[in-house]
């Protein structure tokens, strides 16, 4: 009997507590920096596309919503000819970001992607590619990878040893 009255009193006191509701459109929720939302494709510090079209993200995606076509420019850099994410299927699991070897594909804290037309949820490369380095500033894949492109020979990357001359016997 006493506990009934007590619980009613305690519930009544909740009238004067702080509200937990976030009045959304006027008041934005504070999203953590690593919140998994809209997907972007980032760029190198020197504004080259980071994505090398390796298909790892498309393979990792559990709902198969990424499709792309790799190609190569005249300097030897690989890049996707098209890159398409169907956000009406994406479950924002972040596996694509984990799979990506070049930090190209990243999930950012933004969820306001509502559309009236389902087709508008299919984002093309120009919708995805941003002029920023995203969460990994300073990272440049071709500067650390052993792959030769125009303007960078084999062995010229950071921390990379000179290539072994297989025709010489000197160690």
């Amino acid at each position: 009997m006493f506990s009934i009255v007590r619980s009613m009193w305690l519930v009544f006191l909740h009238m004067f507590k702080k509200r937990v509701t976030i009045q959304y459109p006027e008041q934005k929720a504070k999203l953590p920096a690593r919140w998994r939302g809209r997907i972007v494709l980032t760029r190198d510090p020197d504004m080259g596309e980071r994505c090398v079209g390796c298909y790892l993200c498309a393979a990792a995606c559990p709902v198969d919503c990424i499709s792309l076509q790799a190609t190569q420019d005249e300097s030897g850099r690989r890049y996707p000819a098209f890159f398409r994410i169907n956000f009406s299927r994406c479950i924002f699991c972040g596996y694509c970001e984990e799979a990506c070897p070049t930090y190209a594909i990243q999930l950012i804290p933004d969820f306001e992607m509502g559309e009236y037309n389902r087709q508008n949820l299919v984002y093309e490369k120009q919708d995805l590619l941003i002029d920023s380095q995203g969460k990994y500033p300073g990272y440049n894949y071709y500067k650390v990878a052993g792959m030769a492109i125009q303007g960078k020979e084999k062995g010229a990357a950071i921390n990379e040893e000179k290539p072994v001359d297989i025709h010489s016997l000197v160690p």
């Binding site: 009934i4 619980s7 009613m8 305690l10 009544f12 909740h14 009238m15 509701t21």
Partner: protein
Amino acid sequence: MDDATISHLLITFGVLAGLLLVAPGLIWLERRLLALWQDRYGPNRAGPFGLLVVLADTLKLFFKEDWIPPFADKKVFVLAPAIVVITVLLSFVVIPFAPGIIVADMNIGLLFFLAMSSMGAYSIILGGWSSNNKYALLGSMRGAAQLISYEVFMGLSLMGVVLMTGSFSLIDIVEAQRYQWFIVPQFLGFVIFLIAGIAETHRLPFDIPEAESELIAGFHSEYSGMKFGLFFVGEYIGIMLISSMVTVLFLGGWYGPSFLPPLAWFIIKMFGFIFFFILLRASLPRPRYDQLMEFGWKILLPLSLLNLVVTGGIILWMNTH
């Protein structure tokens, strides 16, 4: 038509319109208050303070498919929701809101109220029965048992008030409380009537006939659209009815300090109890079915009998001395 007829008609339609306007408003009130007690805001977007949510709710109910299950007993199925609204509205006939503001002053007002609230049980029983659905039937069986048992204590708990007044007329009962509200001498009766009243309107925590977590929606599982809406309107008017009855019987009806008009006092007291009902809903869990029955028959019945016997004894003693 003479003046008396016109004013009587005005009062009748005023009461009817007032009830039918306030009942949907209670939906808003309940949602806002529940939200308040759960650290939320509740509906606050549509219109000032979210009041237009009532309109949206009603429109939504009207546009829902009005479905009668093919396996239902059609005539009874359609009739059942109307019964609850009709009986609670009829009960309001005898409630004196203020001096002169009453639809019909019957000398058996209290009995009329009890009769009407028993009739309300038919809506639950018939609604559940005609739905031909096992959950609905279970709900209506529970509802019937609950309403019939709590009816007993409800009637008994009021007899103390009747003994002290010597009349079944609600106006006489209010006037007998001019100097002292019956809540003081009849505190036990007040508590029992309040509990029985909650059970009578099958509001939480005594919403055992509906019990969402066990019976989907109990006796109105199969109802949709405005038929479902009628059950709700009936429930909300029922809350107002029990609140007004408590006010009339135990809190001195329209009496109060004279800086406010009598009607205002009545409405303030009534809304106080509506708040209390909603607070109950916000804070207490639903008892098990057998606990409810046990509580009724083993605690409330002896207590109400005791109340009756003691009140009667004291009145007898006072009359003979």
